[in-house]
Amino acid sequence: MSTARKLPVASAAQVRAYARRLTLRHPRALAGALALHALAAVCGLVAPRLLGELVDGVSRGRAAIDRIGLAIAAFVVAQGVLTWLAHYASARLGERVLADLREEFVDRVLALPLSTVERAGTGDLVSRTSRDVDALATSVRYAVPETLIGAMAVVFTAGALVLTGPLVALPCLVAVPLLWGVMRWYLPRAREGYLRENAAWAEMTDGLAETVHGARTVEAFGLAAARRRRGDADIARTWRAERYTLRLRTVLYPVIEISFVLPVAATLLVGGLLHANGLASLGQVTAATLYVVQINGPIEMLLSWLDELQVGGASLARLLGVGNVPPDRVAGEARPDGERLTARGVHYAYRPGHDVLHGVDLALRPGERLAMVGPSGAGKSTLGRLVAGVDGPRAGTVTVGEGAAVPLVELPLEELRGHVALVTQEHHVFRGALRDNLVMARPGATDEEAAAALAAVDWDGPGLDARVGSGGETLSPAQAQQLALARLVLADPHTLVLDEATSLLDPRAARRLERSLAAVLDGRTVVAIAHRLHTAHDADRVAVVEDGRITELGTHDALLEANGSYAALWASWHGDHQPDRTGR
């Protein structure tokens, strides 16, 4: 079982540095958007001030009502237009930043070291690709701009309040300790709570997806009741996660609402007393009160996005973390002078102290077909990965070349691919045209070359222009396997490692395919790890791998004569019954 390791997560400092770089990448667009938002916010502050003047004027009995009314309308129009432009400018910038973010993430994913990709499960990466990119999109499209706008509006409104009269501005400060205290309590809890809530929802959807994808199995095994129970248990867990955040909000919301009303009452009370003592005009008190009412909007906006920003930050850390995987090979300068692959004294361990290969020697002869057989867990696939240069041995060497042989792990990836390629049981059909699925192996290949590669694998599927992969035409597992082999034909390395590469084909088709492949790959070195013995029968040499060692190596006939474990297996295959060698 492949040990699915989690990919790293970026540090807070890395996230901050990256956010800073990203922010400053488009300085003019950023400055423009901020300026427009600032102007819009300022326009929105005029109305209360003018209303204050109206109040003063009316109470004195001489007010320029029409002029002030028109002015209010004019500023409303200006604010509307500026809001429109500001929103557009910042959203355009946001989309640009978002595109940069996701494209750079995909670049990082595509540059992941080969050994990491082979060993780490894809689950973690899939969730980063879908959930974290989504979460970040919400942050960039909404949370970041709204927070900035909110902060700006708060600052400007506070400024307007002070300009109205420093004394009438003071009472609104009563809300500050209240808000500050409740947010300090809320934010750290909210972050955990919302992450748990998202995870619970994801698990619930996964459970539903399993039931749907496995509907036939559910019916055959009578698992309907079990699936219902699993679904209800997932819902109950989601409900608990929701209840937790709901409890947090049950504290937060009333405190916020009270802290919005409290300063209004305080401003009226203190303002009234100031007015009574001649320290403030009626208009000043009115304008101040209205500003205090008005500042609640942006504060609420600001607070409501804070937890979303935290979630976005966590997602960004996970996206950036993909770039923190250290490279698994340092390419040297040396280039091989031949095609001969040789393994000498190779040891390999997944866990320190637990070698799964114990000093394997294997000299491949250029152009030969070598079949590797042996029980599961004997180390066949591990040896295959080492021979393909995907992993480096713990001790010993795997080299390519004649005299001046070069270790595979010291070749740059592009160079390595020209020498040796690995095809496993796991096949993937990419979304898109069948052609793209092929020419990825050799960009620039012509349609004729692609068609020839398909012909080499007895292709019976759709044509080059057909849309395949998820959402397109479905290829059978066998066709997916053929496609993988056709890629190899096109990539044309001198050595191929096929790890159970034909196991999904029906046995007859597998043999036919292997024979036609053999014709195309004539002159190439092929290492075939296979459980079907006809593969071994057709090979030039057979290597039997048992307990991390090559125990038998020779031609099919020589091994039969030697009468070892290969001979026993072959006899069983042909119907000469042998007792179970494990003795059970």
């Binding site: 079982m1 492949s2 109305a47 109040v55 009316v58 007010a63 002030i68 604010q79 809001t83 429109w84 432009l85 959203a91 995909v106 994913v109 595509l110 992941l112 080969l114 082979e118 894809t122 689950g123 989504d134 619930m204 539903l208 039931t211 749907v212 994808h213 496995g214 036939r216 559910v218 055959a220 009578g222 309907a224 679904g231 989601t238 929701e242 049950t250 009303v261 409290l262 009452a265 009226l268 009370l269 007015h275 009412v293 057989v373 599961s376 095809v423 796991e426 993937h428 990419f430 990825m440 959402g471 993988a484 190899l488 196991s503 029906d506 046995p507 007859r508 042909h574 494990t582 059970r584």
Partner: protein, 557 residues
């Protein structure tokens, strides 16, 4: 607050999307009504706030009366407390409503998917059903929520208009006429926004699928190359999403500009007219401030009204998808009631195959599709003339419990390893693991190790052995296995073959395979050509007597 989920979600009304939504509302009627009432109280508390501020300015500030000032400031605080309590109660209620509707929908979806079984993938794509759980439940929850909030908003608008009408009929009229005008003017801006947002969301979905696809095939990509090609393609699609996003922003920014402009003009109009009345002495200064406050306050319920139509539409579309799933019926109904006296032969009239208790029967077909067809009939996954102990399968009671057809398309389910392999609570899992040669897998990761979705962390061969162990552990009277060892190596296959023979005494076991290692261990092999059994005997007898059989299983070696 009550606990979710409910034990029994009830029988949904799936005659139409509207009926489904109505059914949801009915099942949670008390909380929906309570939500609407709380919404009204919460909105009204905010709506009368400007009136109190106006009084405070008139009677307290302007009149320089500290007692009145303190009184009205206190009233304001009291109102604030009412608003806070009503607000948070309303919020809790609305979250409950949202979740209750969403959870109930997930429940009926899960139950229906489990009930449909093999019929489901034939009628609906998996993605469509899963999206019910991802996005449709959210839209349905939103629809429930907006019903409560929307009614609160309407009452608040009517109340504010009434207060203004009483205080000053002309100003009240301005608001009464102004609000519908604003809604009418804003409506045409809403439509392009929604359209573009839908288009954008679709592109984002595709881009996500694209990225997930890249990740899923990363081994292939890194192994064989093509990163540049795929990165460029992703970039192209990402830029298309970006321009669609900018198009959304264009519509959205016009909308947000209008949200400032239209109510703002109403505020300006009310303020100007109010100031004129105040100058005439028909309004007090405090009332002028109140009117300004009312007009500003109205923006909030107006926005809620703007949401109403959109959310109800989306909820309706989402309910439509749920209804499409709910109205499906299983293809092969299982309603037999006859219990056979004891174990007996399993006979497939279509092929002439007979399988006997205590015997390991194997079916080798020249064409793998024939073997699959036999297996489907034996499990009544396809109609056919099959009898078990003399009883036609259509009449057999507890068919799924007695007959199990295990194929390679079966899925492993996530959960603790041992638990996910135990399905019936009957057989012996340890023995099954030994037979399937899967003890080493369980020993390596532990019985309680968490199996990831579809067991994807196990290799193909490991998954196959675990699936075989699960089928054996289910211990049905009839077990049909289709190519159960196609992905394991020859050594393991030989061991499985040896153990399979001893594993199911007195039971019927049928294995469809062309592997000589398995066939060699069968008590009896039936060779099928063109859908009919044409030769029977042991593997070695058939090798000697049926040359076409020998050609199929040894492939001419």
């Amino acid at each position: 607050m009550r606990t979710l989920p409910v034990d029994d979600p009830g029988t949904p009304d799936h005659r139409s999307p509207t009926r489904y939504l109505t059914w949801l509302v009915r099942t949670q009627a008390p909380t929906v009504i309570a939500g609407a009432l709380l919404g009204v109280v919460w909105m009204l508390a905010q709506a009368v706030m400007p009136a109190v501020v106006g009084r405070a300015i008139d009677q307290g500030v302007a009149a320089r009366d500290p007692a009145a000032l303190a009184l009205w400031a206190g009233a304001l605080l009291g109102l604030g407390v009412v608003q806070a309590v009503a607000g948070v109660t309303r919020h809790r209620n609305s979250v409950f409503n949202w979740l209750a509707a969403a959870f109930r929908t997930v429940q009926v979806t899960t139950r229906q998917a489990a009930r449909l079984g093999a019929t489901l993938p034939k009628r609906l794509s998996a993605g469509e059903v899963v999206s019910v759980g991802v996005s449709d439940v959210a839209h349905i929850g939103d629809a429930m929520d907006i019903l409560s909030r929307g009614s609160g908003a309407i009452v608040a608008i009517v109340a504010v208009a009434a207060i203004m009408l009483v205080a000053s009929p002309p100003l009240g009229l301005i608001v009464l006429v102004g609000v519908p005008v604003i809604l009418l003017l804003a409506a045409p801006l809403l439509r392009p926004y929604r359209r573009r947002e839908d288009a954008h969301r679709e592109l984002v979905g595709e881009l996500n699928t694209h990225a997930t696809d890249l990740v899923g095939g990363l081994r292939v990509l890194r192994g064989i190359g093509g990163e540049t090609l795929f990165a460029e393609r992703y970039r192209g699609e990402s830029q298309r999403v970006r321009s669609a996003g900018v198009r959304v922003a264009a519509a959205e920014s016009r909308l947000s500009g209008a949200e400032v402009l239209l109510p703002g003009l109403l505020v300006a109009l009310v303020t100007w007219a109010g100031a004129r009345y105040a100058a005439d002495g028909r309004l007090s200064v405090g009332q002028l401030v109140s009117f300004y406050g009312y007009a500003v306050f109205l923006i909030h319920p107006l926005k809620t009204l703007g949401e109403l139509a959109g959310k109800l539409t989306k909820g309706h579309v989402a309910a439509g998808r749920v209804v499409r799933l709910l109205e499906l019926e299983p293809e092969v109904p299982l309603a037999g009631t006859v219990r056979p006296d004891g174990p007996g032969d399993l006979v497939d009239a279509g092929s002439g195959l007979v399988a006997r208790p205590g015997e390991l029967t194997m079916v080798a077909a020249a064409d793998p599709r024939d073997a699959q067809a036999v297996a489907d009939r034996l499990g009544r996954h396809a109609p056919g003339e099959v009898t078990y102990a003399g009883v036609p399968l259509a009449d057999l009671a507890d068919l799924r419990d007695r007959v199990l057809v295990a194929v390679n398309e079966d899925r492993l389910f996530s959960g603790p390893l041992a638990g996910s392999l135990t399905t019936t609570g009957r057989g012996d899992l340890d023995a099954a693991l030994v037979t399937a040669n899967a003890e080493d897998i369980v020993a390596a990761v532990g019985r309680d190790a968490h199996v990831a979705e579809a067991g994807r962390e196990f290799s193909g061969g490991q998954q196959q052995r675990l699936r075989l162990a699960r089928a054996l552990a289910a211990d049905p009277e009839v077990l049909v296995l289709v190519e159960p060892t196609s992905a394991v190596d020859a050594h393991t296959e030989a061991r499985v073959a040896d153990r399979l023979r001893a594993a199911r005494p007195d039971r019927i076991t049928v294995v469809c395979t062309t592997s000589p290692l398995l066939l060699d261990r069968a008590d009896r092999v039936a060779y099928v050509e063109d859908g009919r059994v044409v030769a029977e005997g042991t593997h070695r007898e058939l090798l000697d007597t049926a040359s076409r059989y020998a050609a199929v299983v040894t492939r001419g070696m």
